[in-house]
């Protein structure tokens, strides 16, 4: 007889008992036979000593009839009482499963991302070794080790969560498995990642110390080239840049020039055509990617952050310039100081916009991510718009002021105009000495508070607050208008002067 045959016969002889029970018995005999072989017994010895499968099965059924029966009986009683409980448990387990599965997937993919980043950091670091910047090299290796440790920890978390998930369902189904101690490999992985985390941090700190604890030294910034381009300007000038911070100033004389900086590995392209200056990274995404690899290979991983700051451009306008100025920047902050012009239009994708001491007809500032800061502005129309950031106006005099923001606060300090409109979805609106005939303040979530110059009697007030307190009372008959609308938040406006 063979093991397979024996077990097959045994299973058959057991007849209709619960599969789990049968499996358990078969596994016992399988283990016994395997062990006997391991102890050098021959097939003949084993099966002559073993009771025939029919006897083994009969013995079991005779000796343990109660296990199966009791199980069934208990099961019946329990089922009647707990079927409902099981459904409820299953329902909650299903909801929890959604959370657990998404956590497992995100931890697992985080781990992969960390590992990929770590490999990249390691690989790109060798360039620094070749160029003799060992401290930066070791700092990056420290970062890589930290990334690897994070990768391992994420994966370990995913495995542990999976075990939780599996255990939960086993419990719901009612087949809890005996608890196994933590796998050795798991414990080893955790210890290894903890050591790597510590080692990586030590390595980084040591290298960072050698660089004088100055974050700017974490990238190799030598060899920055400065270029100066002369521009001719009449009554309008436009500037377009993709990755540069731009500062616009007034020059002492009549020169009009653009000063910009770049690294030799990533030369910028400058074109001046029909009153439009364009300052862009090299052509085509692929070449830009190649260049940025080269830049990181030679100058370290963190050069990107330093580059936007270092490769800053300055536009000098002639002292007599008073035309229209249009600035468009993708990534980088824009600041304008001491400017007199007819129109000032600035649009930025990522970066803050700062205007200081500007006299013009129209100010139109737009940014997706970044704050808008307007200081000492005299204009007919001021439009400020941002998605994420803040709008801060101080000493602004205009006919109309419009501030629009999705997420962030609006702060109006000493603003004087005929009509002011401030709109935010999430964020507060703060006022200080606001002087205006028509005031519209709208926010969905956030408070409105501050001071308005004038007496309350002058104003027709419309205030609506859905959830929150409001110190204003609706009233008609004023020559000026105050319209405050808040969904969630409080209103606290005082009239002074």
């Amino acid at each position: 007889m063979t093991k397979r045959k024996y077990l097959k016969k045994l299973k058959k002889a057991l007849g209709k008992i619960s599969p789990a029970e049968a499996e358990d018995l078969v596994a016992y005999y399988a283990e016994l036979i395997d062990e006997s072989y391991d102890h050098g017994k021959t097939e003949r010895e084993i099966f002559s000593k073993l009771d025939p499968p029919e006897v083994a099965a009969a013995n079991y059924l005779r000796e343990c009839p109660t296990i199966g029966e009791e199980g069934k009986r208990e099961g019946h009683v329990r089922n009647a009482a707990s079927n409902f409980g099981k459904i409820v448990m299953g329902f909650f387990a299903a909801i929890l499963s959604i959370v657990l599965v998404s956590l497992i997937v995100s931890f697992a993919s985080c781990g992969v991302a960390f590992a990929v980043a770590g490999v990249y950091v390691l690989a790109i670091s060798f360039g620094l070794l070749f160029s003799g910047h060992a401290a930066v090299f070791f700092a990056q290796w420290g970062m890589a080790f930290v990334l690897f440790a994070l990768a391992m920890l994420s994966e370990a978390a995913a495995v542990l969560l999976y075990k939780l998930f599996a255990g939960m369902w086993r419990f719901v189904v009612g087949r809890p498995k005996p608890k196994k101690p933590m796998r050795k490999s798991m414990r080893r992985a955790l210890i290894a990642s903890a050591m790597m985390l510590l080692g990586g941090q030590l390595m980084f700190t040591a290298a960072f110390g050698a660089l004088g604890f100055n974050y700017k030294n974490l990238a190799v910034t030598e060899g920055l080239a400065t270029h100066e381009e002369q521009l001719s300007v009449e009554d309008a000038l436009a500037l377009e840049a993709d990755n540069s911070a731009v500062t616009i100033k007034r020059s002492e004389d009549e020169t009009c020039k653009l000063v910009y900086r770049d690294f030799p590995e990533t030369p910028k392209r400058f074109v001046f055509l029909d009153g439009k200056a364009m300052l862009n990274d090299g052509e085509g995404t692929l070449s830009v990617m190649g260049a940025s690899f080269e830049l990181q290979w030679r100058r370290g991983l963190l050069i990107g952050g330093a580059a936007t700051d270092l490769q800053r451009a300055e536009l000098y306008l002639p002292a007599s310039f008073s035309g229209a100025l249009t600035v468009e920047v993708d990534n980088g902050e824009v600041s304008v100081t001491d400017m007199v012009c007819t129109d000032l239009v600035i649009s930025v994708k990522n970066g803050a916009v700062t205007l200081d001491s500007v006299t013009t007809d129209t100010v139109d500032v737009k940014t997706n991510n970044g704050a808008v800061i307007l200081q000492s502005i005299t204009a007919e129309t001021v439009n400020a718009k941002t998605s994420n950031g803040a709008i801060y106006c101080k000493n602004v005099t205009a006919e109309t002021v419009t501030a629009e923001i999705k997420t962030g606060a609006i702060d109006l300090k000493n603003v004087a105009c005929t009509r002011v409109t401030a709109t935010t979805s999430t964020g507060a609106i703060l006022l200080e000495d606001l002087r205006a005939d028509h005031i519209y303040l709208h926010t969905s979530t956030g408070s409105v508070k501050g001071t308005i110059s004038g007496s309350e009697a002058e104003y027709s007030v419309t205030a609506s607050v859905s959830t929150g307190s409001c110190n204003l009372q609706n009233r008609q008959g004023g020559s000026k208008q105050l319209d405050v609308r808040v969904s969630t938040g409080s209103v606290n406006i005082k009239f002074v002067g």
Partner: protein, 103 residues
């Protein structure tokens, strides 16, 4: 020995063996076989019964590339074993009675 008489004793034998440390099927069979004649098909139901009664617990551990099922005595099992001594005294009384009646 009569199988009915042996049954109760075997339970105690298994529990006694496990007080020396956790063990697995083959080893238990060998060690028990040295003391009292017992076949595999008798041992399994005993283990199963003791497990159901909560007197021993089982766990699996990898050994030589496959899973070995180990048995461990529980606190209930130890109590049962302690109780066995009392049972034995009672048994001796019965034994003395049987002997006395027969003479």
């Amino acid at each position: 020995m009569d199988i009915q008489m042996k049954k109760g004793l075997l339970d105690a034998c298994v529990l006694a063996l496990l007080t020396k440390g956790d063990s697995y099927g083959y080893q238990l069979a060998c060690e028990l076989g040295a003391v009292v004649e017992v076949s595999e098909s008798t041992l399994y139901p005993i283990l199963k019964r003791l497990e159901t009664a909560g007197q021993l617990s089982t766990y699996a551990r990898e050994y030589g590339g496959r899973l070995r099922r180990y048995y461990r005595i529980t606190q209930t099992g130890r109590l049962r074993l302690a109780q066995f001594d009392d049972d034995w005294k009672e048994l001796e009384k019965i034994h003395a009675f049987i002997k006395g009646e027969r003479i």
